[in-house]
């Protein structure tokens, strides 16, 4: 009886944890647990997808991210909170440790509440800068919602991202849709490769401090304007942990999920906030964009032996790698984004071959990419290396080390197959024949002109 129960429990646990590849324990940090009502739909959607959502305020006593060195939560969601610092349990240091331990963080900011110093420091650690005074509203006098912010212009209505950058998976792209960003905080990104802006502010938008710059925007105190301002950005650390900054927490609230908005001089339309929020949360909590390497195989062409430890220079070798991608609740074959390539490097210190892997076939949950090539004419210790690092996709770094030996003395091509050697071989033949003929004549020739 107990065994049946435990099996059932294990199955249930497996079904629940199937939601995300990196666990389902989500901690929502907000000012007052009652505030979660405002985000009912969004959080309900997360629960329905299988997340175990816990709610804490920064002040709560028992809040800790680590227990005995292990993470107690898999994901963190920061909703705006009025406290200046988030307390001793959520110091920037702890949060960085959390990311280093493969935890994912979604930071939602709002211009109505100054960002807490812990989050500002965490973000500056990631090269994401917020306005100095911790509060800044993004306004755009050309792209605002005429229904809700006709006077203050602080509800931005933007086209949903349609092409973020070539060669990326279209996880966040909702062509034709509009997004509403109420009371958004803009941020500025550093130039690191781990950061990717998802939604940038339009060219005419700018950030200002409503408390100090309500009347006049001092020319020297402009934080950022135009496309330099990002509203939603993602960061994927080297360990594939994810941090997302959402400039407007209010866009997750029920009233904005499918609110009616109207652009200046345009008709009122429904926003795509709900779908966008689902994708942003799903990506951050590793429900989409997660890659898995199922197997790596390499072998000598014409040989049955898999993954041998040694090859010879100039061997013809085939390499295949099987990749799966996690999409919400199941593994599917990984299809490369448009305009992108999966590449194999055959390297010793630096790559000597970098080859494009081609799709060789797919199974129900895996795609097999492969390439055949001739090893370089240099012996040494080489690596088959697939280093597939892309924004939005977890890092794939597969390194298989093999020795490459040089030719054995009896593996070189024989001189008779080298056409350039034929005159020399003929020369040896001529010498041998001449020698035998000379011996015969020397021994058996009869002197000329002498009678026997």
């Amino acid at each position: 009886m107990w065994s049946i129960l435990s099996v059932a429990a294990a199955l249930f646990a497996a079904a629940v944890s199937a939601v995300s590849t990196s666990g389902n324990r989500l901690l929502v940090v907000l000012d007052d647990v009652a505030e979660k009502e405002a985000y009912g739909q969004f959080l309900g959607d997360l629960t329905a997808r299988g997340f175990q959502v816990s709610y804490e305020t920064p002040r709560s006593e028992g809040l800790t991210l680590f227990h005995l060195g292990e993470r107690t939560y898999d994901h963190l969601l920061f909703l705006p909170s009025k406290v200046k610092g988030l307390g001793p349990n959520l110091t920037p240091n702890r949060l960085v440790d959390f990311v280093n331990a493969n935890g994912n963080i979604l930071v939602a900011l709002s211009s109505t509440v100054p960002a807490s110093t812990s989050l500002v420091s965490l973000l500056s650690e990631l090269d994401i800068s917020l306005p100095v005074e911790r509060t800044g509203t993004v306004v755009d006098h050309f792209n605002y919602d005429t229904i809700s912010a006709a006077e203050s212009h602080d509800v931005l209505v933007l086209d949903a991202p349609s092409s973020i950058r070539p060669g990326l998976k279209p996880y966040f792209e909702l062509p034709g849709g509009v997004l509403a960003f109420p009371h958004a905080v803009g941020h500025v990104l550093g130039s690191g490769p781990l950061l990717t802006p998802i939604v940038r502010a339009p060219a005419t938008a700018y950030s200002y401090n409503p408390k100090e710059q309500a009347e006049v925007l001092d020319a020297d105190e402009l934080f950022a304007a135009g496309q330099q301002l990002a509203l939603v950005s993602v960061m994927q650390a080297r360990n594939s942990a994810r941090v997302t900054v959402l400039g407007s927490a209010e866009m997750l609230q029920d009233k904005w999920l499918d609110a009616e908005v109207a652009k200046l001089g345009g008709k009122s339309t429904k926003t795509e906030n709900k779908e966008f929020a689902r994708r942003v949360a799903g990506w951050t909590f590793q429900e989409i964009g997660v890659l898995r390497v199922n197997s790596v195989e390499h072998h000598l062409q014409g040989s049955e032996e898999l993954n041998p430890g040694i090859y010879r220079v100039k061997n013809d070798v085939s390499y295949t790698i099987s990749l799966s991608e996690y999409v919400w609740d199941k593994w599917v074959p990984f299809v490369l984004p448009e305009d992108d390539l999966l590449q194999l490097e055959f390297s010793m210190l630096s790559p000597f071959h970098r080859l494009n892997l081609e799709l060789k076939g797919t199974t129900d949950d895996a795609a097999i990419y492969g390439v055949s090539f001739t090893l370089p004419d240099q012996h040494g210790i080489f690596n088959f290396m697939v280093n597939y690092k892309r924004s939005f996709l977890t890092n794939v770094e597969e390194k298989n080390t093999v020795s490459v030996r040089h030719f054995a003395h009896d593996e070189w091509p024989r001189s008779f197959v080298i056409s350039g050697a034929w005159p020399w071989i003929s020369g040896i033949g001529a010498t041998v024949t001449g020698f035998l003929g000379f011996c015969a004549i020397w021994m058996y020739s009869k002197p000329v002109g002498k009678k026997n």
């Binding site: 390539l341 071959h353 370089p376 001529a430 011996c439 004549i441 020739s445 009869k446 002109g449 002498k450």
Partner: protein, 282 residues
């Protein structure tokens, strides 16, 4: 219903206010230069500066204007001079605007980002005016200017930031495979070499070489001669087998056996040859 009334009212309000929008007057752009290419040009909302201005490394570009809401001079919240490069990269320069609507901004080369300094095309400056409320904002392209860098100093360098993505293919070859001359050349030279064999024999026969004493030699020392000459041929055969498939350890005993046979038979056979020589028959 209430909603639709509200939006209708709003629409009406926006139509009513559509007449008023943010504009400017007395627009002037002035380049003060130490190198002597001063320039002053006037512009308005409908009339941009036609000729391209030049901003040298010691020059100062100054824009002055009066902002207006409708026809009344007033200060907007947003008054930016946006400098745009051909690729779409923009740098905003906020104007310092007084209550009266008089606004100024000064740009030198130091204020421009590197990417704009390096632009080959002229930079386009436009004026963005906008503020809260229902008054419409405006974006007006006002003038173009080119940046003339200081020839005495190094050109500022700009390094593209690293982005993950596909890389160029590499097919590195340490040493190219050795190449053979055309096959026909090798064949021709081989035939030329082989042609020396008949030439050699013809030459020998021409100066009197022959095999006439084979009979005599075989009759006086038949076994020795057959074995000796056979062992010479066999030695070549051993070398041929060594070239094609044998290794050294198979070859050495064979050479030993053939060598012993050659030595033993050779003493007799060559003795017979010596006797013929002493008899004056060679």
């Amino acid at each position: 219903m209430r909603f639709s009334v509200a939006s209708t009212l709003l629409a009406l309000a926006s139509i009513a206010s559509a007449a008023s929008s943010w504009t400017f007057s007395d627009g002037t752009v002035q380049v003060t230069s130490k190198a002597g290419n001063d320039a002053v040009a006037k512009f308005s909302a409908d009339d941009r500066v036609q000729n391209t201005l030049t901003l040298g490394h010691q020059d100062k570009l100054k824009v002055t204007l009066t902002t207006k809401e409708g026809s009344k001079a007033k200060r907007p919240h947003q008054a930016f001079l946006v400098v745009k490069e051909a690729s779409g990269l923009e740098a905003p320069f906020p104007l310092t605007v007084k209550e009266s609507g008089k606004g100024t901004v000064e740009i030198t080369q130091k204020d421009l980002p590197v990417q704009l300094l390096l632009s080959q095309e002229p930079l386009e400056a436009s004026l963005v005016l906008g503020s809260f409320g229902s008054t419409k904002g405006s974006v007006t392209p006002v003038f173009d200017f080119t940046v003339k860098l200081d020839p005495a100093t190094a050109v500022p360098s700009y390094e593209k930031p690293l982005r993950y993505g596909k890389l160029a293919e590499i097919h590195h070859i340490f040493r190219a495979d050795p190449k053979n001359p055309p096959r026909i050349v090798s064949v021709a030279f081989s035939l030329a070499v082989l042609a020396t064999i008949p030439a050699l024999f013809i030459g020998w026969f021409a100066i009197g070489g022959n095999f006439a004493h084979v009979q005599k030699a075989l009759s006086s020392a038949p076994i020795s001669h057959v074995v000796f000459f056979g062992s010479i041929v066999a030695m070549e055969g051993v070398f041929f087998l060594y070239y094609t498939k044998w290794n050294l350890f198979q070859t050495l005993p064979a050479i030993g056996a053939v060598g012993v046979a050659a030595f033993l038979s050779g003493t007799k056979a060559l003795g017979e040859v010596q006797r013929r020589r002493l008899a004056g028959e060679r």
